[in-house]
Amino acid sequence: MSVILEFKDFGFRYTGNKEFTVRDINFRIRHGEFVMLSGPSGGGKTTLARAMVGLIPHFYMGEMEGSVLIDGVSTKNKEVKEISRTIGYVFQNPDNQIFMTTVIRDVAFRLEFMDLPKEEMINRVRYILDKLGIADLMYRRVETLSGGEKQKVAIAGVLVAQPKVLILDEPTAYLSPKSALGLMKLLDRLNKELGITIILIDHRMDLAIQYVKRMIVLYNGRIVLDASTKDALETALDKLYGINIPTISRLYHIFKRWGYNPPSPIIEAEDLSRYILKEVVKA
């Protein structure tokens, strides 16, 4: 598959900061990948997301090294608006994203320059709200939404335009377990059925583990790990700085330390129980 996004010796220092926030960043993302970008708070995840959508260098003041290429073209030579047609970015904080008065207006906003008939626009908005379980909030004023509802509206506002690449910056932070799982399933479908490339930024692995194939970990502004999810959980636990590791994988490593050999760090709970019953507590 061809490369859609490439970081080449990228680095960035925000004006006013002494140190570079991120440095020596090199990686490529191919069309159709579902990648997780993780690492501790302050590691530089959001900074990389800003660079992927051109907010760095176009909006954030600072010193940039190297380059970021979208379909082979440097973000320096593209306008943010143009990039946003290819890459949808769900901000870490929905308040920075939602700016219209009502849910329908906000979500329809990104469709407005597409020249769709009004009815088609409303249908698309309703469809995506329905997928996120908030169709009944379509005509609500945004300031009356609960935290999780607001987060869903921010997500809907980006999904509705069906960008080729989706970057979601901690999209499940304020979602209930049920809503979060619903979102993961939706992302998985978008990825598998429509081939949308997905970059998920998150501290927690338990939700995404079934869907994400590749993990990139940022620590102190450097990439310290770029591996398959399974390898990351099997052999690189010490590199998963700040990440909330799934319970099953933690148990896997504890059993290993005890001298057992469970099949994999990413198995279903029932399979692990069966293993425990067979090997660990074979009374």
Partner: protein, 271 residues
């Protein structure tokens, strides 16, 4: 004590809170859980008088929130919002905490003492000259908590404190909560973070559609799969692993967190 009696609340049309009864004692640690839109934030906004009951009442110690001033109530009850970055407006981290204290008219010596104390407690001393707006999400979270703890309130309400927090910050938060509870503060968290609740085992108040559907020990509620699922939650994953062992009678009760599970397995291994 916070006492909620027959509380009903509406923003205008439907009732968002329905017949809520709740008693929160000094030094209690409580987690309010439930699906998005269940009414959790609406409920906790009643604790410091930000919202007033449509019916029923909320009493904090000797203050009826319908009659007491926001000033008196906020001295007692600190509320950290779901999206804390919205509250910041100072130029530096230090000033932001200082502002919270100035509001209550504390003198400078006390302010400096408290600011240093809370910034250290929240690992923010290194960032005290930075602008709150340039902090990363997790750092901002901690700053909001610092502001709330600054004037030493008795009741601390944290709306989704672990949202967007990495492992280290959850560990710091765990310690902070333990310190607060030891100091006889009441700590009330609103959270979706079932693993966090399973580890800390607070009393759990479960809400669904504006009502309290369960109120009890974390171990009872978090092992009640049916109840959880019907409220938009799932059991912690240790439950899924330990359930078959419980069903076979190998362990005596369902286990909700990894430490307890490991301890139980070690016991079994030793025989």
């Amino acid at each position: 004590m916070i006492l909620v009696e027959d509380l009903w609340f509406t923003y205008g049309e439907d009732f968002i809170l329905k017949n809520i009864n709740l008693e929160i004692g000094k030094g209690e640690f409580i987690a309010i859980m439930g699906d998005n839109g269940a009414g959790k934030t609406t409920l906790v906004k009643h604790f410091n008088g930000l919202l007033k009951p449509s019916k029923g009442k909320v009493i904090v110690d000797d203050l009826d929130t319908s009659k007491a001033s926001i000033y008196d109530l906020s001295r007692k009850v600190a509320l950290v919002f779901q999206y804390p970055e919205k509250m910041f407006f100072s130029e530096t981290v230090w000033d932001e905490v200082n502002f919270a204290l100035k509001n209550f008219g504390f003198d400078e010596d006390y302010r400096i003492h408290r600011i240093n104390k809370v910034l250290a407690l929240l690992w923010l001393d290194g960032l005290k000259d930075r602008s709150p707006f340039t902090l990363s999400g997790g750092e901002q979270r901690r700053l909001a908590l610092a502001c709330a703890l600054a004037w030493d309130p008795d009741y601390i309400v944290l709306d989704e404190p672990t949202a967007g927090q990495d492992k280290y910050q959850r560990e710091i938060l765990t310690k902070i909560i333990q310190v607060l509870v030891e100091q006889e503060k009441s700590v009330i968290i609103v959270t979706h973070d079932i693993e966090f609740v399973a580890e800390l085992k607070p009393r759990v108040v479960l809400m669904y559609n504006g009502e309290i559907v369960a109120d009890g020990a974390a171990e009872d509620i978090l092992s009640n799969e049916k109840l959880l699922r019907s409220s938009g939650l799932y059991p912690p994953s240790v439950i899924d692993v330990s359930r078959p062992l419980f069903d076979k009678g190998i362990i005596k009760k369902p286990i909700i967190n990894i430490h307890d599970f490991i301890a139980a397995l070690e016991m079994l291994a030793r025989g």
